[in-house]
C-alpha cells in the first residue's frame, strides 16, 4: 500500500519537477525558446566561450547580432543537444562559432551533463544521446522521479527558481545574451594550477565518442546551411610546456576540419597569451582579458568573414 | 550481603573517586558512578586489593556487573 502511494507520489513529483525546470529562464535548455529572435552568430562550446565571448562586446565591433549558447563543463554531445534544441525553436543563425581544443577531444576534460536533459527525455533524440553518453544514469530513469533523484543536488534549487519565474511571469534570463562574466578570483600559484590541470605532463588521449559528436554537431549545423567555424582561444603560454602532445592533437582537429570542410581558427598564439595578468586559469581570461580578446575576435570577423559578404539579415 | 564490607568498599570508592559524600547501591554499574570508567577501573581494583589485603585474578575483575557483585567477590576473598 505504502509502496503504491510512494510510487504515485514520485510520479507526481516528477511532473512537478519537469514543469518547474522548463520554466526556469536561467537554464539555457528552457530559455532557448525565448532567446533573441534573430541571431546571426551562435557561439557554442564549454566554459571557455561561455566566460570569454561576450555578444554585447562583439556586436559593437561587428554590427551583427550574436548569442552565446555555451555551457560550462560541456562536451560535444552536450553541445549537440543544446544546438538541436536551439534550432528546434529558433531560426537558424548564419554562423556557428564552436570551441574545439585538444582538451575537448579527451574525455578527462569536461563531460556530458546528463542532468541538463532530464526534463526532455521524452524527446527521442535527447533520449538516445543520453542513453549513449551516460548509461549508468539512464538505466535507472525508468523508476519514477529517479531521473531527478540521481543528480538531485542539481535540481532542487532550479525547480524552485523555475516556479518563481513562472509566477512572476519572467521571460528573460539573468544573462540575456548567454555570456557569463568570469569570476573575480585572484590567481596566485600558477604552477600549482598546472599541476592540477595537467598532471605529470598530461598526454591527451583522443576519444572516439567525442569525435563522433563533434562531427554530428558540425553536420547538424551544415544541414541548416549554417557556416561553421571551429576555433581555439589563447592558452596561457607557460602551460604549453606541460602538454607534450598538444600539437599532435591540434593536427587531429585540423584533419577533422578538412574532412568537414570547415575552417579551424587558432587564436592560441596571440600575444596576450604570454601575459599572465589576463588569465584566471590556463584556459580562461579575466574580464580585462575578455575585453581585449573580444576586440580581436570582432576585428577578425569584420575583416576575414563579414568583409566579403553582404550584411546579414539581423544587422542592427 | 555483608553490610560491613559494603561500607568499607564504599569508603574505598570515595577515596578513589575523590568524593567524600559518594553513596553506592548494590545495583550501581560503572555508568552510574561518575568517574568510574576503564581508565580508573584498575586503580579502584588496586586500592581494594591494598585495603582488604587480597588479590584478584584478571577474569574476576573483568566479569562482575555491578557493585553488588564486587562486594560479594570481596566478601568471598576475605572470608
Amino acid at each position: 500500500m505504502v509502496f503504491v502511494v510512494v510510487w504515485i507520489s514520485l510520479l507526481l513529483l516528477e511532473d512537478l519537477y519537469d514543469f518547474g525546470l522548463k520554466q526556469n529562464q536561467n537554464i539555457k535548455m528552457a530559455s532557448v525558446k525565448n532567446s533573441p529572435p534573430c541571431t546571426d552568430l551562435l557561439v557554442h562550446g564549454p566554459c571557455e566561450p561561455l566566460w570569454m565571448i561576450s555578444p554585447a562586446l562583439l556586436d559593437q565591433q561587428t554590427g551583427i547580432s550574436s548569442y552565446n549558447l555555451a555551457l560550462s563543463h560541456s562536451d560535444f554531445a552536450d553541445n549537440y543537444l543544446h544546438l538541436y534544441y536551439y534550432l528546434k525553436y529558433n531560426k537558424a543563425p548564419k554562423y556557428l562559432l564552436l570551441y574545439v581544443t585538444p582538451e575537448s577531444l579527451d574525455k578527462h576534460y569536461n563531460t556530458f551533463n546528463s542532468y541538463r536533459f532530464a526534463p526532455y527525455l521524452s524527446d527521442t533524440l535527447v533520449n538516445k544521446v543520453v542513453r549513449e553518453n551516460d548509461p549508468a544514469y539512464f538505466k535507472w530513469t525508468w523508476i519514477p522521479f529517479m531521473k531527478y533523484a540521481y543528480y538531485n543536488n542539481r535540481f532542487n534549487f532550479d525547480v524552485l527558481q523555475g516556479y518563481k519565474h513562472y509566477f512572476s511571469g519572467r521571460k528573460s534570463a539573468y544573462y540575456p545574451d548567454g555570456f557569463e562574466p568570469p569570476t573575480k578570483r585572484a590567481w596566485g600559484n600558477h604552477t600549482g594550477e598546472f599541476a592540477q590541470l595537467y598532471k605529470e605532463n598530461t598526454v591527451f588521449k583522443p576519444d572516439s565518442l567525442r569525435e563522433k559528436y563533434l562531427h554530428k554537431t558540425i553536420r547538424m549545423a551544415k544541414e541548416k546551411k549554417i557556416r561553421v567555424f571551429l576555433y581555439e582561444s589563447p592558452v596561457l603560454y607557460e602551460a604549453l610546456a606541460f602538454q607534450p602532445n598538444r600539437d599532435e592533437m591540434i593536427d587531429r582537429i585540423k584533419k577533422i576540419a578538412v574532412e568537414e570542410q570547415v575552417p579551424f581558427i587558432q587564436f592560441e598564439k596571440l600575444a596576450m597569451a604570454k601575459e599572465k595578468r589576463y588569465f584566471v586559469s590556463t584556459l580562461n581570461f579575466n574580464m580585462e582579458g575578455v575585453i581585449l580578446f573580444n576586440d580581436t575576435l570582432g576585428r577578425f570577423f569584420n575583416s576575414v568573414i563579414l568583409g566579403n559578404e553582404p550584411l546579414s539579415p539581423c544587422a542592427k | 550481603m555483608n553490610e560491613e564490607v559494603f561500607k568499607q568498599v564504599e569508603f574505598v570508592f570515595r577515596q578513589v573517586f575523590k568524593r567524600p559524600d559518594l553513596l553506592i547501591r548494590p545495583e550501581d554499574t560503572a555508568t552510574d558512578i561518575a568517574g568510574w570508567d576503564s581508565l580508573t577501573h584498575m586503580t579502584l581494583i588496586n586500592e581494594l586489593e591494598i585495603f582488604f589485603k587480597i588479590t584478584f585474578t584478571f577474569e574476576e575483575v573483568t566479569s562482575f556487573k555491578n557493585t553488588g557483585d564486587l562486594v560479594k567477590l570481596v566478601t568471598q576473598k576475605i572470608s
Partner: protein
C-alpha cells in the same frame, strides 16, 4: 555490493524472503551461502582469503588450550595480526581512507576488501584468546564457524562481533513479523543518515581536505568538524543498516554508537564511539595491561592508553597521519586521567564541554582524514596562522564549504545543514522512532521522499571534480 546499492537491495530482499520461509535448521545454510556470495561479489580473492583464514583459525583453535598449546596459540595470533598489518600496508600503498568517503578515483572494492579483512582477522584474534583463556569452547562445526566469522551484515566494517555473541543465535527461530518491521525501520534510518547526511557532506569535506588550497583557519576547522559529523553519520548509518538488516534475518548485532557527539569528555566519547571496536581493545589490550601494572596506579592506565591507541592506529592504517591521530587522543585521555574530567552540573557547562570535545575530536580527525602527511601539515599550518578569520567570508568560507559560489550550491548546503542539525538535535527521539516495531506509514513515506529529493544516488559527485 555496498549496502545502499540497488544490487544489495535485490540480494537482500531475496535472502530475507527465503530466510523467513525456511525451516530453522536450513536457515543457517542459507545465511552461509548468502555471506559467501556477498563477499565473493566484491572480489574472488577476498572470498579465498576469508575461507583460508577461517579454516586456519578453526583448525588451530582446537589445539591452543593447555601447556602445549602456547606455541600454536601465539603463532595463530601472529598470523592473524600479520594479516591485518599486511592488508593495511596494501591499503596504505593504494590510498588511505576508511569507509566510503567518495574520494576521487577511489577503488571502492579494494577498500572494502581490506577494511573487511582487518575486521575479520580481529575477530579471530579475540576468538583465539577466548578459547585459550577457556572463556569459551572451541567450535566443533567448521561451517558454523565460517558463518559466524563471515556473516555478511557485519562483514565489511562491523559492528565487530565476538564469537560468543553470535553462536547462540545462529540456530534461533525465524524472525517474527514485528521484528521484520523493526529491522526495516532501522535500515531506513541508516539509508537516511548515509544518503541524505553523510554523502551530502562528503564534497564539502573534500573541498577543504583534498585541494591544498590556501584556506583561512576557520574554514579548515569547519571542514574538520563537518568531517567528524560526516564520519559519524556515514559509519553509524552503515551500522544502522547492518543492525537492521541482521535483525530482519533474526540475528541481533551489538550496538556500535551511543550518541558520541553528545559526550562531555574525550573519555566519555570513547565509550560511545565505535563501541564494538573499543570493547575489543579494552578487553584484549587495555585491561590486561592496566591490570598487570595496576600497582603503578594512574601510570598503569597511562601506559595502557598509549599502547591501546598505538595498536588502534596501526589497525586503522599504517602511516604518519594515523599515528598523529592516535597521539592526539593519547594526549587528550592522559590529560583527563591526570587533571580530571566528568560531567559538571549545569546545562551551559555541559554544552561547553560537549562543544569542546567536538573541537578536540575534530582536530584529531584532521590527521585521520588527510590523505598524506604533507596534506595534514598544510592544513595545520593554515589553522595556526594569523589569518584565522577570512577577509571575505563568502569567498573563503562559504564557497569552499558549499563547493561553489552559486545560489544553487548555497541552497544545497543550507538544506544539508538543516537536515544535519535537525538530526543531531533530535537524535535520541529519532533513534527511538527507528526502533519501534510498528509500521508507521506516514513517517516511512516522508523519509523515502526526503531520500529521493535530497539523498545522494549513484555518483552525483561526478561533476564536482571536473576541472573546467
Amino acid at each position: 555490493m555496498a549496502f545502499s546499492s540497488p544490487q544489495f537491495l535485490i540480494f537482500f530482499i531475496l535472502v530475507c524472503g527465503l530466510n523467513f520461509v525456511l525451516k530453522n535448521s536450513a536457515r543457517k545454510h542459507l545465511l552461509l551461502i548468502a555471506s559467501l556470495v556477498f563477499i565473493g561479489w566484491f572480489n574472488f580473492y577476498t572470498l579465498g582469503a576469508v575461507i583460508f583464514f577461517s579454516g586456519f583459525t578453526f583448525f588451530i583453535a582446537g589445539r591452543v588450550t593447555g601447556d602445549k598449546g602456547a606455541f600454536i596459540f601465539y603463532s595463530g595470533l601472529m598470523v592473524n595480526c600479520l594479516a591485518i598489518v599486511l592488508f593495511n600496508y596494501l591499503l596504505a600503498s593504494g590510498g588511505l581512507v576508511i569507509f566510503s568517503l567518495n574520494a576521487v578515483d577511489f577503488s571502492v572494492s579494494a577498500l572494502f576488501l581490506f577494511v573487511g579483512l582487518s575486521f575479520y582477522n580481529l575477530q579471530h584474534v579475540a576468538y583465539l584468546v577466548d578459547v585459550r583463556k577457556k572463556r569459551i569452547l572451541a567450535e566443533k562445526n567448521f561451517f558454523d564457524f565460517l558463518l559466524i566469522s563471515s556473516y555478511f551484515p557485519k562483514f565489511i566494517s562491523g559492528p565487530l562481533t565476538l564469537y560468543q555473541q553470535l553462536r547462540p543465535q545462529i540456530n534461533g527461530p525465524a524472525p517474527q513479523q514485528i521484528i521484520l518491521v523493526q529491522g526495516f525501520n532501522r535500515m531506513l534510518l541508516g539509508f537516511f543518515k548515509k544518503m541524505v547526511l553523510a554523502d551530502r557532506l562528503a564534497p564539502s569535506v573534500a573541498s577543504v581536505f583534498d585541494y591544498n588550497d590556501e584556506l583561512p583557519g576557520i574554514t579548515v576547522m569547519s571542514g574538520a568538524i563537518l568531517f567528524t559529523i560526516q564520519l559519524y553519520f556515514d559509519f553509524s548509518g552503515y551500522c544502522d543498516m547492518a543492525i537492521g538488516a541482521s535483525k530482519m534475518l533474526g540475528i541481533e548485532l551489538p550496538e556500535n554508537f551511543d550518541f558520541p557527539l553528545r559526550a562531555g569528555s574525550v573519555t566519555e566519547f570513547w565509550r560511545k564511539w565505535h563501541r564494538s571496536l573499543i570493547h575489543f581493545f579494552t578487553t584484549y589490550i587495555f585491561y590486561p595491561v592496566s591490570f598487570r601494572y595496576r600497582r603503578f596506579k594512574k601510570q598503569a592506565a597511562a601506559i595502557a592508553v598509549i599502547l591501546t591507541f598505538f595498536v588502534s592506529a596501526l589497525w586503522h592504517g599504517i602511516g604518519f597521519t594515523f599515528m598523529m591521530w592516535a597521539c592526539c587522543h593519547m594526549v587528550y585521555l592522559l590529560f583527563e586521567l591526570y587533571f580530571g574530567r566528568g560531567s559538571r552540573p549545569g546545562k551551559l557547562r555541559r554544552f561547553i564541554s560537549v562543544a569542546l570535545v567536538l573541537l578536540l575530536v575534530s582536530f584529531g580527525n584532521i590527521f585521520f582524514r588527510s590523505t598524506s602527511s604533507s596534506g595534514s601539515m598544510h592544513l595545520l599550518s593554515r589553522l595556526f596562522t594569523f589569518d584565522f578569520l577570512p577577509e571575505n567570508w563568502a569567498v573563503e568560507l562559504l564557497a569552499p564549504i558549499a563547493v561553489g559560489g552559486h545560489q544553487a550550491e548555497q541552497f544545497n548546503l543550507a538544506a544539508t545543514l538543516f537536515f544535519v542539525f535537525f538530526t543531531l538535535l533530535f537524535e535520541r527521539k529519532i533513534f527511538e522512532h527507528a526502533n519501534v516495531s510498528k509500521f508507521r506509514p506516514l513517517i516511512t513515506f516522508l523519509v523515502i521522499l526526503v531520500i529521493f529529493v535530497f539523498g545522494v544516488f549513484g555518483n552525483a559527485q561526478r561533476f564536482i571534480y571536473m576541472q573546467f
